[in-house]
């Protein structure tokens, strides 16, 4: 009689009911002495096994001939123990990353040593209690090949996650996110240009582990959405045994990681006086003024009158009496707190995990706030010996008090454009500068220099986004035969978002509406999924292991959007649309897509030595034309465990060694839902309804495909003390889904076509080591390094990109392509550019010109790093522990898109300038990289390498110092554990970048091509928290 047990996801153990001897004992942690529950004890060479109990005790029956026990437990190194008595106490050593760890893969699980693809894993302990809005922050620097970049320091802002380099120019470049087997809505649902991150609805303390499927063979089971990798999130589940209650709390403060330096009021006055004189010279050259003296007089008169205007009508600019640091007004020291309670437990039949959390976070930018409430219930019930069912449900409500996008005058950091000679409070009115023009009773229209963003917050204006979201799944598992199971799951992700905004009377200068402008928008995103698949798992003749999956999946996504707008409010006390006298807009729209898939995978392992995996997925997507609706995404991979071979067995140095290789095809369907069709859209004119062509049809539109290969070596040396995983990969993307720029004379700007190729190749190293492991001291390290080289190889001869970032054949995606700046002409202060035109002999003309149009664009920088790395160290001494993570990015450049305003030689007017502009050319003979200041005469402000900087940085990303109350104290208090800690995120950033923060891409500008572009973008958070975890 055999009984099947399904525990710990996939570990299949059978128990035999006959035996000769019984061995008992207790399993404890070598270091802490704590009992280890749930460890597997097997008699070596046989398939019999038991689990240890809560107190670490076990009892196993053995044959007389048995001589060794094999003990395995998650998080510990495997141990073989000789049978030399009937009572054996066993101690296990913690392993940083055990080869027997369960690894979640698509539609199933595997164990690390059987993996033939490339999968990075980040565990709960690295994620839990990270003081950040969204979990991606917590994986930054922790996984090789995963480049995490937060666009800017606004809360709930989109985070770019690029796995092994961007694979697409126009279609999506972000990975697929799957929570407990169900793909979820990710990405930006904002309607105000400042992108949001749907993943910030996930409570990161609920996450048990994150697996990142990086290579084609592991990701290909997700077919047409796998080209950018797949991020699998597994939430915590209950375990049989005593119920545990855990309460986590932290609180702290956040500050900006960096500041940019601007002119103070004396410098400002000097600079613009200089700019007036520079302009006077030009006035004469252009013939606007008869001679230099009259030109200087006129220009100085003008500048002085403006100084007086911007000094609130006073002459204080002459004395430097007013010296406002506007930047300080945009920033704030912001509190953050999180309260988190979870309960887990269960019996043989029922397992349960319940959690609730409240996150209350203020932004480092004024008025920015994020509050999230979330609750989770994960439950599984064994209803028959062969049938279990369960549900994972999450409810989240997040409210984001948002900011305008980086390109708006109302975005707080644009405040730096205001003049330091302008007082914060206008002495004429006693109100914030710009709030009131006493002569009209309305807000000022020409004072201060621009709309003062301080008027767009507080009671005057808001932009609040509220998300109510329910996501989760119900599933059942049926054991049809001992080796054949069937799983059916139905998942739903329902996201309801409202965006409620009001811009009051004081913002008239910004919004262009005198008496209030309100808007209310709703977005409903519904994504449902059903997966149905069989799993066959059997070992033949003790050496042939088969693990096969066959199934189908159906997914449907629908988005419904509506918005209404009104203006003319009776007063700012009224903020809802019912009060707006003029309804200025009403719209609704919807879109959706369907994905129908069939998938199969067979893993075969021979004698623990040779592993082969084959898989295929067939996806049908509504996004493509009828002719190319279905795509097939096959993959194959193989592994050879050398350490199981005779010649390496019992090698004391080498505990484990595996060679692996994989090949596979993945697809990308992240294009708009109706991209293949010719479309007409509506257009209104003077109250009449009309229609206009909006999209050309492309009946031949098909999948963008990436052919990936991966070669890796994975091993463990010195008795599992050091694990390493080294991978080399190539990813070749063909039939790019490209928004091809077409001749504008066609009436269209671009068309989605399958043109072009791009390649990524690189290598990754992950090393985990246990450096010291004694009773009192334990020191572990983890290091990851990844280098990716991206190259666009074919775009059909086009240069794509609307601004300075371009996609160009032969170059990495998104290179900065503009004129090469050559500094100021020593003779006259003109901005000079290297011509870089191709001479007849094929070389570049390196002479300079002051005529921008005479110079050629060249590659002036690359937003893609040469390499990224992370180094983590955890040191435990008795009850103290310290964890330090360094994270870095090297070899990329940043383009300061705001440079044409803030480092602009005064050419766009009176914007305050960055401090480096003081080095401007002043007189003939000056050698400087900063051209002469010339008020309203552009002098070197067109896109050029003038605004390029090195973007490399190294951060002390995370430091945690913790103290665990000693066991004896804890048990006296009748609690399970108590931990207090101090944690710092982004404690220190080492960089040469002179801007706010080198981790940046302006939110309104971000896409596949447009990266590394700074535009008044908020810096990242430096967060210091203290916290406690208490377990009962």
């Amino acid at each position: 009689m055999r009984k099947t047990l399904l525990q710990f996801f996939a570990l299949l153990i059978t128990m035999q009911s006959f035996a000769q001897n019984t061995i008992t004992g207790k399993i404890t942690d070598e270091q802490t002495g704590a009992p280890i529950a749930g460890a597997t004890v097997i008699v070596k060479g046989e398939k019999t096994g038991v689990f240890s109990q809560t107190d670490g005790s076990f009892s196993i029956k053995t044959n007389a001939s048995s001589n060794t026990l094999l003990v395995t437990s998650i998080g510990y190194a495997d141990k073989e123990v000789p049978i030399n008595g009937s009572v054996i106490n066993i101690t296990l050593t913690q392993a940083s990353k055990s080869l027997s760890d369960v690894v979640v893969v698509g539609y199933g699980t595997s164990i690390r040593k059987d993996i033939t693809g490339s999968v990075s894993q980040v565990n709960a302990k690295n994620i839990t209690n990270t003081p950040a809005t969204s979990f991606e922050t917590a994986i930054q620097g922790r996984a090789a090949g995963v480049f995490v970049e937060q666009q800017n320091g606004k809360l709930g802002q989109a985070i770019n996650v690029t796995i092994r380099g961007g694979s697409s120019v126009t279609a999506g470049n972000q990975p697929l996110y799957v929570v407990d087997g169900i793909p979820v809505t990710a990405g930006d649902l904002s309607s105000n240009g400042s992108s949001t991150n749907s993943l910030s609805d996930i409570n990161m303390n609920d996450i048990a582990s994150i697996e990142i499927l990086k290579d084609a063979s592991s990701a290909a089971i997700y077919g047409s959405r796998a080209s950018n990798g797949v991020v699998l999130i597994t939430t915590k589940k209950g375990k049989a045994g005593t119920s545990k209650i855990e309460f986590n709390y932290f609180t702290g403060v956040q500050n900006p990681t960096g500041r940019r330096e601007f002119l103070d009021s004396k410098e400002y006055v000097d600079y613009f006086t200089q700019a007036a004189l520079g302009a006077a010279t030009q006035d004469v050259i252009y013939g606007y003024e008869p001679n230099i003296n009259s030109a200087k007089r006129d220009e100085l008169d003008y500048v002085h009158s403006r100084f007086t205007r911007y000094s609130a009508g006073t002459e204080d600019w002459k004395t430097g009496k007013i010296n406002t640091n506007w930047q300080d007004q945009a920033f704030q020291t912001a509190p953050i707190s999180q309260y988190d309670l979870n309960v887990s437990g269960g019996t043989d039949k029922t397992k349960i995990f319940v959690s609730g959390q409240y996150l209350d976070q203020d932004g480092i930018i004024i008025a920015n706030k994020f509050k999230r409430y979330s609750a989770r219930l994960n439950i599984e019930q064994q209803i028959r010996s062969w049938l279990s069912l369960g549900a994972n449900m999450n409810f989240a409500r997040s409210k984001n008090y948002r900011l305008s996008d980086d390109d708006q005058f109302s975005s707080p950091l644009q405040i730096v454009a205001l003049s330091p000679i302008t007082p914060l409070i206008d002495p004429r009115t006693g109100l914030i500068s710009g709030a009131l023009d006493p002569s009209t009773g309305a807000p000022n229209t020409n004072y201060p220099l621009y709309f003062n963003p301080l008027l767009a917050y507080g009671n005057n204006a808001y932009y609040n986004t509220l998300v109510n979201r329910t996501f989760g799944d119900v599933y059942l598992n049926a054991t049809i035969l001992p080796e054949l199971t069937f799983r059916s799951e139905f998942g739903m992700d329902q996201l309801n978002q409202t965006e409620d905004s009001y811009f009051g009377k004081l913002t008239a200068r910004d919004v262009g509406v005198p008496d209030g402008d309100g808007s209310y928008a709703t977005t409903q995103a519904l994504h449902y999924t059903t997966n149905n698949y069989f799993n066959y798992k059997k070992t033949f003749a003790n050496v042939h292991d088969i693990d096969a999956v066959l199934g189908m999946s159906y997914e449907q996504e629908n988005f419904d959007f509506s918005e209404a707008d009104a203006q003319e409010f009776p007063s700012d006390a009224f903020k809802k649309l019912n009060a707006g006298a003029v309804k200025t807009g009403a719209t609704s729209s919807s879109t959706g897509d369907v994905l129908l898939s069939y998938f199969a995978r067979v893993n075969y392992k021979y004698d623990e030595k040779y592993i082969l995996a084959l898989s295929d997925r067939i996806d049908g997507s509504s996004r493509f034309g009828v002719n190319n609706r279905y795509g097939s995404f096959p993959a194959v991979s193989a592994g050879w465990v050398l350490s199981e071979e005779k010649f390496l067995q019992n090698n004391r140095f080498l505990s484990f060694l595996k060679l692996k290789a994989s090949f596979g095809e993945t697809g990308n369907n992240e294009i708009s839902d109706f991209a293949a069709r010719g479309l007409n859209t509506s257009a209104a004119y003077g109250g009449h309804a009309g229609q206009i062509p909006s999209q050309l049809p492309n009946p031949n539109l098909k999948w963008e495909t990436t052919l990936g290969s991966d070669f890796g070596i994975e091993g463990s040396i010195l008795n599992n003390r050091i694990d390493f995983d080294i991978d080399y990969y190539t990813r070749k993307t063909k039939d790019l889904l490209l928004n091809v720029q077409v001749p504008g004379t066609s009436g269209f700007e671009s068309q989605l076509q399958n043109i072009g190729n791009l390649n990524n190749k690189g290598f990754e190293i992950e090393i985990n080591s246990t450096n010291i492991s004694t009773k009192d001291v334990r020191w572990t390290s983890s290091f990851n390094f990844s280098r990716n080289k991206n190259k666009v190889t074919n775009l059909g001869g086009q240069v794509l990109g609307s601004d300075v970032n371009k996609a160009i054949e032969g170059q990495p995606l998104g290179v900065f392509y503009a004129r090469e700046f050559a500094g100021a002409d020593p003779a006259n202060g003109d901005a000079l550019y290297y011509k870089n035109t191709v001479k007849s002999d094929g070389t570049l003309d390196r002479t300079t010109t002051n005529d921008y149009n005479q110079a050629n664009d060249i590659v002036i920088g690359d937003p893609n790093p040469d390499f990224i790395y992370g180094l983590g160290n955890t040191l435990t001494y008795k009850d103290f522990d310290i964890d330090i993570l360094l994270q870095g990015v090297y070899g990329n450049q940043i383009y300061n898109g705001g440079g044409e305003f803030m480092s602009a030689s005064g050419s766009n007017g009176f914007d305050n300038q960055t401090i480096d502009q003081l080095a401007a050319w002043k007189k003939p003979g000056d050698i400087t990289m900063v051209p002469e200041a010339r008020l309203f005469y552009p002098n070197g402000t067109d896109p050029s390498s003038r605004y390029i900087s090195n973007g490399s940085y190294m951060r002390v990303k995370s430091v945690t110092l913790g103290y665990n109350l000693p066991k004896e104290v804890v048990s006296r208090l009748k609690i399970d554990h108590l931990r207090v800690y101090v944690k710092a995120e982004n404690l220190l950033t080492i960089t040469n970048y002179k801007g706010w923060d080198p981790e940046v891409t302006a939110d309104f500008y971000n896409d596949n091509i447009n990266k590394g572009y700074d535009f008044y973008s908020a810096p990242q958070f430096q967060t210091i928290t203290i916290g406690a975890s208490i377990g009962l």
Partner: protein, 454 residues
């Protein structure tokens, strides 16, 4: 029991397998498939409305194409203090090939032309009652755009040989797919003008002529004649310009259009801003409402908006004392012509028609419709200026009157070119006074040649 549940499971799974396939044919809802777009006469008239909407985009007749011309043609009457580098370049006569306003206007123009070409390609399904009007209005839009394109992006008619100078590409059929034939070359200036004249002549004969009281907001034959007169005037073809303008004026006067009593009344505004119907002086406007359209003149000139363009002392000094137009400024430097946020964009005002007729009559020594002095005095009387005597009137007087009456409305550059007047230190035919072909267009279509000097 176990078996029964399993059967149900398999049954359910099989069902999902076979019922899903048809869902892959998801239809768009927010836009419509192009195959469903031209089925009825109403679809075609709707497409014509769409063409007006595109014509009214801020890059095009929403105003930027005219503001660009005024900044480029300004010697010393305007001060540009805006943050938009694109217009800074225009005002400094230092346009770059990557100027996004230059590209935006080009793209929007050809987008609208494609809209119109779609309308014209489906004329056969338009009901007879609408057919002429639809064709006429479509050709009014196309002719007007090609006229503005050729005078912005190519050498002036009087600059060298128009039969040899490259103009802009003429695209006269709708685009249904992109192929090598989409990579068009530039037609000559003369070919473009010929097309413009042909389109506008058809428009003049086929457009509907509404009385003012009908408040017809679309192009009329009166508007087409007036636009045709602009074209001939640009070609220095005074006889044809006179004939066309006189036809326009006759239609206007017969149908209840007239100059407003005061200059201020010709540029009405509302507080709070609101859509105001066209005045009887408006021959053709782009409609702006709270929900559609945008008035770029308002955006750049109005003190209550960006206020990027101020009138310099030199500009203000041109007005005679007592001229109402000389006091139509806010804060002594902002023109009040464009104060209404929801104001229609005035493309053709009746005053222009009288001024053109006067100029042509004067040059030809004729008095078709009216004596030049009468047309000029009508303009002057309205702004409280004294009459000219017929004998004293000079061409310079007429041109000065034209300049003052139509200032900031997009005439400066084009008048300077036809009158061959210097712009600052640049000669009228300087390549710097011509928009470049946008860089993106050269990248996308290697058959296009760039303008001299870029």
């Amino acid at each position: 029991m176990k078996k029964q549940i399993l059967y149900i499971l398999f049954g359910f799974t099989a069902l999902t397998f076979f019922s899903c396939n048809k869902h892959l044919d998801t239809k768009p809802t927010s836009s419509i498939d192009v195959n469903d777009a031209f089925k009825t006469s109403g679809d075609v008239t709707g497409a014509l409305v769409g063409a007006y909407a595109d014509l009214g985009d801020d890059d095009l007749y929403g105003g930027q194409i005219f503001i660009g011309a005024d900044l480029l043609g300004d010697s010393d009457q305007l001060n540009w203090s805006g943050t938009y580098e694109q217009f800074t370049q225009a005002h400094n006569k230092a346009l770059t090939v990557s100027n996004s306003f230059v590209a935006g206007t080009w793209l929007q123009a050809y987008k609208t032309i494609n809209d119109v070409n779609n309308v014209l390609a489906h004329l056969d399904i338009v009901v007879d009652a609408d057919k002429d009007r639809v064709e006429g209005e479509a050709k009014f839009i196309r002719g007007s755009i090609y006229f503005d394109l050729v005078r912005m992006y190519a050498k002036a008619w009087n600059d060298g040989d128009p039969a040899n100078n490259p103009g802009v590409p003429l695209v006269l059929t709708p685009t249904t797919l992109i192929s090598d034939s989409s990579k068009v070359s530039r037609n000559t200036v003369a070919e473009v003008y010929a097309q413009v004249i042909s389109d506008l002549k058809t428009a003049a004969s086929k457009c509907y002529m509404a009385t003012y009281d009908e408040h017809y907001i679309f192009a009329t034959s009166m508007a087409a004649y007036a636009m045709l007169a602009r074209v001939y005037l640009q070609q220095q073809d005074y006889a044809n310009a006179l004939q066309a303008e006189n036809s326009a004026i006759k239609l206007a006067e017969e149908n209840g259009y007239h100059l407003m009593a005061t200059y201020t009344a010709a540029f009405p505004s509302a507080d709070p801003p609101a859509a105001i119907p066209n005045t009887p002086e408006d021959i053709f406007d782009i409609e702006v409402t709270a929900t559609s359209g945008l008035n770029a003149f308002n955006e750049y000139y109005s003190e209550n908006q960006r206020g990027d363009i101020q009138i310099t002392d030199a500009g203000l000094a041109l007005y005679e004392p007592g001229d109402d137009r000389g006091s139509f400024f806010g804060d002594g430097e902002y023109t009040l012509k464009f104060e209404n946020y929801y104001g229609n964009v005035r493309i053709i005002r009746l005053a222009e028609l009288y001024l053109t007729r006067a100029e042509c009559n004067f040059r030809l020594g004729s008095a078709v419709g009216a004596k030049p002095v009468d047309d000029i005095n009508m303009i002057r009387e309205r702004v409280n200026l004294s009459d000219y005597n017929s004998d004293d009137l000079t061409l310079d007087d007429i041109l000065r009157e034209r300049g003052l009456e139509l200032d900031y409305e997009g005439f400066t550059l084009h008048d300077e070119k036809r009158l061959e007047l210097n712009v600052g230190i640049l000669p009228w035919n300087s390549p710097k006074l011509i928009y470049p072909i946008p860089q993106r267009e050269i990248y996308a279509n290697p058959n296009l040649t760039q303008n001299e000097g870029y």
